[in-house]
Every structure is written in structure tokens, then in C-alpha cells.
């Protein structure tokens, strides 16, 4: 099959363009349907790797530390993300428990690990073992990772609970806040560019 790496096809309307080098801050848009074709990749591979590593550390903190704690006449209660998953499971909402665990734990974790793995090799211009599978999995998993939504959910819960209880934010809430920022930075970054900057490992 013939390949044409200098061309790019708009995913939303099928129009073909010749790829142009983009300057900092530039976004290539489709002239027909106005969808984003490509963004300037303002972070180098090393910087991306550093961010993914930060993401992993923050993710661990977000998952082990309490998000918020409540107190009611001398009693206190707090919860982590997994506390919420377990509570849903025990209270008869198993489907929601699974959905929550997938969208807030397994998918984001898989994203961080796979991205870190391919970037670690990409730092020396190489394609990691399993590069192909990891890259397509990254594209597919992306829409199902919902850290940002969870962050807003925590805020709404805090306000709701505040009517009846004293609410104290825990370290988890800050970790999720930082994760939301990191996720947003990554959302403006297309991992598919790694195909262009890496080459197959010769054995």
C-alpha cells in the first residue's frame, strides 16, 4: 500500500491537506468544516515525559489520601475515591461502581502508564515494544477518562454536604485539582505525533 506521510486528512469531513510546519501557538484548521487538524506541539518529548511522571505521582496521592472529611457531633468520616466505589458497590449500584472505577481509576491509570512507556523510549527516538498497541489504546481510552468531571462532582458534593455537616477538604482534593490541570495540558497535545518523531527499533 502506498503511504503519504506528508498529507493529512481531516477526520471530520475527509478533506486532504498537505501538512504545514506550525509555529508556536498555531493551530491548523480544516477550511471546509473548521475542525482542528493539528496543533503545534509546544512540549518536547522530555517535557512530556516529565509531566507524565508528575501525573503518576499526583495520581497516587489522589488515590490514597482522603478527598474530603465530614464531621457531625463529634464523629468524623472521610472518603477516598475507592471509598466511593466500594460504597456504590455495597449499596446495590454495582454498575455505577464499575463505571466509576473505570473512568476515574483504570482508564486514567492506563493512560498515564502507556503514555509514560512510549515516551520513555521516544526520548531516544525509538518506538517502545508494544508501541503500536499502546498508541491505538491511548486514542481509544481518551474519551472515557473523566477526572475533570469528578473534580466538579467533588465540589458539588462539598457544597451539598456543607448544609448539614462541617466539611474539611483533604489532600486528595488538591491532588485531583492538580491532575485536572495536567489532564487539560495533555488534552491540547496529540500523542499521535510520536509516530513522526520515532523510528522502529532495529534488532
Amino acid at each position: 500500500m502506498d503511504k503519504a506521510p506528508s498529507l493529512i486528512v481531516c477526520e471530520h469531513c475527509d478533506t486532504v491537506y498537505r501538512r504545514q510546519p506550525l509555529a508556536r501557538g498555531e493551530v491548523a484548521r480544516c477550511a471546509v468544516c473548521d475542525a482542528v487538524l493539528e496543533r503545534h506541539q509546544w512540549l518536547g518529548v522530555d517535557a512530556q515525559f516529565a509531566l507524565v511522571l508528575t501525573g503518576l505521582i499526583v495520581f497516587v496521592i489522589a488515590n490514597v489520601s482522603p478527598i474530603v472529611s465530614l464531621s457531625l457531633s463529634g464523629m468524623t468520616a472521610d472518603t477516598t475515591l475507592w471509598g466511593a466505589v466500594i460504597a456504590m458497590w455495597n449499596d446495590g449500584a454495582q454498575i455505577v461502581a464499575v463505571l466509576t472505577a473505570l473512568t476515574l481509576f483504570f482508564f486514567p491509570l492506563a493512560q498515564i502508564l502507556m503514555h509514560g512507556w512510549v515516551l520513555w523510549f521516544a526520548r531516544s527516538g525509538l518506538r517502545a515494544p508494544g508501541f503500536r498497541q499502546a498508541m491505538s489504546a491511548l486514542v481509544r481510552v481518551k474519551p472515557w477518562s473523566m477526572i475533570e468531571v469528578f473534580m466538579l462532582g467533588v465540589l458539588v458534593s462539598v457544597v451539598k454536604a456543607h448544609t448539614y455537616f462541617d466539611v474539611v477538604p483533604g489532600p486528595g482534593i488538591w491532588a485531583f485539582g492538580v491532575l485536572t490541570v495536567l489532564v487539560t495540558v495533555f488534552a491540547s497535545h496529540d500523542p499521535r505525533n510520536l509516530w513522526d518523531v520515532t523510528r522502529e527499533i532495529r534488532t
Binding site: 471546509v32 468544516c33 468520616a77 463505571l99 491505538s136
Partner: protein
């Protein structure tokens, strides 16, 4: 605008997963030479799958709103909240701005998704030529906002875990929240099955 070349007319196709552009093939088993993902010119049975998922989501949306999503229990009273009554309570007792956010995420976004996706599907089937660019933008809007409807599901999950003071005070999830979670998943799948290129394909004349 119409003079810009489109991949199908040039005998090319782009890979969905890695974006490599290759020569056109109608082999249904064709795979991208670079990332080995299945290649197809248009998403398979896009309209039928998208309709099926959208209708499923719309059916689930009825119990999602009719059934309560959580129960707040204290020593003296028991209070079942639906999505809508939760929003009203948030408006009265909490903060109106958050009530607006929750209302947008759990009522406005799903309803907009039903309407917009339904409209896109009908307009593609009728080979409408009107406002293709605007419809393309509507589709991207639907894709972008879809998952924010999980907001209330996560709120119920957090509160159920947090408010667990034995008999004194408890929050429990109720079936409505399960239906609501399913609505979000099905609308997301429906939006993913829709192929926006159909907006530009099915026009009657060139």
C-alpha cells in the same frame, strides 16, 4: 470550498488511529500499514448503530429522571431525591451557581445530545445540504460535552461514601443513578458511532 480535494475522491484514506494517509482499498479486512488498526472509508453501519444507541439512551433517560437517584436518611426523616429535586435543593440551600452547573450537566446536556444527534442523523438520511459547516460544529459540540453528564453520578457516589453515620445520617444510591450512568455511556457511544463525514458525503449534487 467544494474544490478542495477529499480523500475518497483522490483514492486515499486516512487511518483513524494514527492518521497515516494510504491508498484507498475497499477490502473490509484492510489494516493500517503503520499501526495495524482496521481501515475503513466510513464507520461501519454508522447510521443504524448511532440510531440504536441513541434510542436506547432516550428510553433509559425516562427512568433516570423518574426514579430517585439518592436517599438522604437522618434520625427523623427520609428524603428521596430525583435529579431535578436535587437541583432545586441545591438552588435553595446551597449555591445557585452550582445548581445551574448541575442542571446544565444532567438535564440540558443529555437533552441537547438527543436533539442534536437526532437532527444530524435525520439530516444525513435526507441528504440535506443545508448548513453542513454548522452541523459539523454541532457534532463536535456533542462530542465535547458528552461526558460532563456523569457529574451527578459522581456526586451520588461521593456522598454515599462520605455520609455514613450509622443510624444518624446516611446517603444511599437509588436505581435512578444506575439508569443515569447508562444514559451517559449510551449517548457517548451513539456520538462515537456517528461518522461526521456523512454530513459532507450524502449531498445530492456537487
Amino acid at each position: 470550498m467544494s474544490e478542495l480535494p477529499r480523500a475518497r475522491e483522490l483514492g486515499m484514506m486516512g487511518c483513524h488511529v494514527c492518521r497515516l494517509v494510504t491508498a484507498y482499498t475497499d477490502d473490509p479486512k484492510a489494516r493500517c500499514p503503520r499501526c495495524h488498526s482496521p481501515l475503513h472509508v466510513r464507520k461501519h453501519a454508522s447510521l443504524a448503530r448511532s440510531w440504536a444507541l441513541l434510542i436506547t439512551a432516550a428510553i433509559f433517560y425516562i427512568p433516570a429522571n423518574a426514579f430517585p437517584i439518592m436517599r438522604t436518611q437522618s434520625l427523623f426523616d427520609k428524603d428521596d431525591n430525583t435529579i431535578l429535586s436535587g437541583i432545586v435543593e441545591l438552588w435553595r440551600a446551597g449555591s445557585p451557581d452550582l445548581a445551574v452547573i448541575v442542571f446544565t450537566a444532567s438535564i440540558v446536556v443529555p437533552v441537547l445530545k438527543f436533539l442534536i444527534l437526532g437532527y444530524l442523523l435525520v439530516s444525513v438520511q435526507r441528504a440535506s445540504e443545508w448548513g453542513a459547516r454548522r452541523r459539523a460544529k454541532l457534532y463536535r459540540f456533542v462530542e465535547l460535552v458528552g461526558y460532563w453528564s456523569m457529574l451527578d453520578v459522581f456526586v451520588v457516589a461521593i456522598l454515599s461514601a462520605l455520609v455514613h453515620f450509622k443510624v444518624l445520617s446516611r446517603v444511599e444510591p437509588l436505581p435512578g443513578v444506575v439508569y443515569f450512568g447508562m444514559v451517559v455511556v449510551f449517548t457517548m457511544l451513539a456520538a462515537m458511532s456517528f461518522d461526521p463525514r456523512l454530513i459532507w458525503d450524502k449531498r445530492k449534487s456537487r
